[in-house]
């Protein structure tokens, strides 16, 4: 390595923080180069002085009263939080179940609403507008069962609800 490159490594070399391969190359150069060796020694002395001064100035001390007060605050908050947790895992899970149940009920209501609306619109459309119904339509047996299929996009699980024409529950299957 050349002196220019070595000088860039001096800040790390002063604290023995070079990577092993760099450190070897650095050592070889410095042993042979008095200028770089002098630069390294000067940097080391400067760094030692800076470290010592920063340690003296920056080292805040606790008073016993401060530490006791802080631990009391931490302890109080910790107990408060432990109390919340000690209501048990069911309590912790409740919000998730509540959310899932709410979503389920909402989904059910939307599906029901859509079915009822669709059915009455279809039936009502002919009557309201006075459109003639064909013989074929009249002959078609009334649908007496409907099914609603829900598919989980994550697991692929399918749940089918079977309802009669009055939307009374007739069963389900997976």
């Amino acid at each position: 390595m050349k002196c220019r490159k070595i000088r860039k490594l001096v800040p790390l070399a002063a604290g023995n923080d070079l990577r092993p391969r760099q450190a070897r190359a650095f050592r070889v150069h410095v042993e042979a180069c008095p200028d770089c060796r002098a630069e390294l020694e000067a940097f080391r002395r400067g760094l030692a002085g800076i470290r010592a001064a920063a340690r003296q100035e920056g080292a805040a001390e606790w008073t016993e009263a401060e530490w006791t007060a802080l631990m009391a605050r931490v302890g109080a908050k910790a107990k408060e939080e432990s109390g919340d947790r000690s209501r048990g895992p069911v309590a912790a899970l409740r919000p998730h179940w509540a959310g899932a149940a709410a979503v389920g009920v909402l989904l059910g209501l939307v599906v029901m609403g859509a079915l009822i609306k669709g059915s009455s619109l279809w039936r009502g459309a002919g009557h309201r507008k006075g459109l003639p119904t064909t013989a074929e339509e009249q002959a078609r047996p009334e649908q007496d069962k409907i099914s609603v299929t829900m598919v989980s996009p994550e697991s692929g699980l399918q749940v089918v609800w079977i309802l009669d024409k009055n939307f009374e529950w007739k069963g389900d299957r997976e």
Partner: protein, 186 residues
């Protein structure tokens, strides 16, 4: 981590909150020293340590026993201190008269006594970037090695070396002019 710490951690995790204090008390000095160097404000350092200890309590179950407890506490405290100065930086950015206020420059007439040197070093440290200050405090003042420092700060050893090199260079440049005797070994 020693056996006492393992036992105390087990007690805390079993619900004995009173075991937390003896667990962290041996580390209180280094913890406050580190945080006060990072924040450069004692009152803020006390707040940061309190919040860091609360976080440590909350996440004690996730502590990896193969690690040093002290370094884990350092990590939490350094993260908390970083959150604070980011928040402060955002607040200062909103106040144009305060934003960009540089630390007071060293007095060229300053003598060479120890208190002035310490003040000069603190000013120079304040002028470092937050990351440089963290790396310098952990590596040069708390004596963590590069690998431990990188683990505490959640960055690579390469990044630690780069910041450490810059920090030492900046500090030396800042100090050398006013305190040349430092390098003369007097």
């Amino acid at each position: 981590m020693n056996e006492t710490e393992k036992e105390l951690i087990a007690l805390v995790l079993s619900g004995r909150t009173d075991a937390f204090e003896p667990l962290v008390t041996p580390h209180r000095g280094p913890l406050l020293a580190l945080v006060s160097r990072l924040t450069q404000n004692r009152e803020e350092a006390l707040d940061v340590v309190q919040e860091a200890l609360l976080r440590a309590y909350r996440s004690l179950a996730s502590f990896d026993p193969s690690r040093s407890l002290r370094n884990w506490l350092f990590q939490i405290a350094a993260n908390e201190a970083r959150d604070r100065y980011r928040k402060r930086a955002r607040e200062q950015a909103a106040l144009p008269d305060v934003a960009g206020r540089a630390p007071a420059a060293a007095n060229p007439e300053a003598g060479h006594d120890r208190s002035e040197l310490r003040a000069g070093v603190m000013r120079a440290m304040a002028a470092l970037s937050p990351r440089e200050r963290e790396v310098f405090a952990l590596r040069d003042l708390e004596d963590l090695d590069v690998r431990e420092t990188s683990r505490v700060l959640g960055c690579s050893s390469l990044a630690v070396r780069a910041h450490l090199s810059k920090a030492r260079k900046k500090l030396r440049e800042a100090i050398r002019k006013d305190f040349p005797h430092l390098e003369e070994g007097q």
